[in-house]
């Protein structure tokens, strides 16, 4: 491969590149993980990263010492939210993270919840 070819390959390997994302997800579809994880599902590490882990898994365990939403994990890792849910599903299956699901919403949110939010906003 010539140097010029190598440059082209490197340029292709940019952050949003589908091939790169496909490799990180190891070919798995995010569809199943979507049902477990919302953008605001909270994640807390329950174990330390190990040197043999996929780097993205290790990064998640490292930054989730305090609760972080899926959206925040996606932002810090610079990875699409749906891909992050695949990685989180791996860690959840291995009991390496704790998952705090959002309040399931019925037709309308509970009045007590809304009262809490209104009260919180008033202090902002």
């Amino acid at each position: 491969m010539s140097a010029a070819d190598q440059d082209t390959v490197d340029q292709d390997w940019d952050e949003g590149n589908p091939e790169r994302l496909y490799v990180i997800a190891r070919g798995r579809s995010p569809l199943a993980a979507h049902t477990t994880f919302d953008l605001v599902t909270l994640i807390i590490s329950r174990s330390q990263p190990t040197p043999t882990m996929q780097p993205e898994h290790a990064a998640i365990l490292r930054i989730c010492g305090s609760p972080l939403s899926v959206a925040e994990v996606s932002a810090y890792l610079r990875l699409p939210a749906s891909l992050v849910t695949v990685l989180l599903a791996d860690l959840h299956a291995e009991k390496r993270i704790e998952v705090r699901a959002p309040i399931p919403k019925a037709a309308l949110p509970a009045r007590s919840l809304l009262e809490a939010v209104i009260h919180g906003l008033q202090r902002l």
Partner: protein, 204 residues
């Protein structure tokens, strides 16, 4: 060697850490046309520097998202800014600003599912960009309030004129705001919460 790569991911700043007691999160979505001030509003109310999450989605009409879809032209990466407000030691509110191109808002898996409600941010100089999203929110049963962002030189429509122009039901609140102001943006979220509260009081 790969492991060292994870160290390069900067996590949250010390002052941005949530207490371990936070048990649940809720979200609201700010929708509105390009340049209407969504990112400004998110930044005004957020206790953290707004972050950006992204999603890779297949282009509308490009077919199903399977491995065959790895052909690059069928993918688009869409970014969305969001902020966070700690409501209490146990509850946190996330505020998402939708990406500029409206055709992506409803492709984003799970963005509206579970949202308490939405704020439709409107530029009164360009009302027409809001029609489509209002209809889609209604179709999905997502409760919303309308907020007009005060731009210099924006026509100052009386509320009822605006309501008629947007074909909004009488009960949907319309509020004015200055998205640059924390207080004003907070009041927009407050208007949404009060509206939801009123809705929840009605017999179903």
């Amino acid at each position: 060697m790969d492991f060292s790569g994870s160290e390069s991911v900067p996590g949250p700043q010390e002052e941005d850490l949530l207490p371990a007691s936070v048990a649940t999160a809720v979200k609201v979505v700010i929708v509105g046309g390009f340049g209407v001030g969504k990112t400004t509003l998110v930044g005004s109310v957020s206790e953290i520097r707004p972050l950006t999450t992204e999603e890779t989605m297949t282009q509308a009409g490009a077919g199903v998202d399977d491995t065959a879809g790895i052909e690059r032209k069928s993918f688009t990466t869409v970014a969305m800014d969001f902020g966070r407000i700690s409501i209490s030691d146990e509850l946190v509110l996330y505020v998402f600003g939708t990406p500029g191109q409206e055709r992506f808002w409803f492709l984003w898996n799970g963005l509206f599912e579970g949202a308490l409600g939405a704020v439709v941010l409107v530029d009164t100089r360009r009302l027409e960009v809001s029609f489509d999203v209002l209809g889609r929110l209604e179709d999905r049963g997502v409760p919303f309030v309308v907020a007009t962002n005060a731009f210099p030189g924006s026509p100052d429509h009386p509320t009822e004129e605006l309501r008629a122009a947007l074909d909004l039901p009488a009960e949907v609140p319309i509020v004015r705001c200055d998205a640059r102001s924390r207080e004003s943006s907070r009041d927009v979220l407050m208007a949404l919460m009060r509206y939801l509260y009123d809705l929840s009081a009605q017999p179903v």
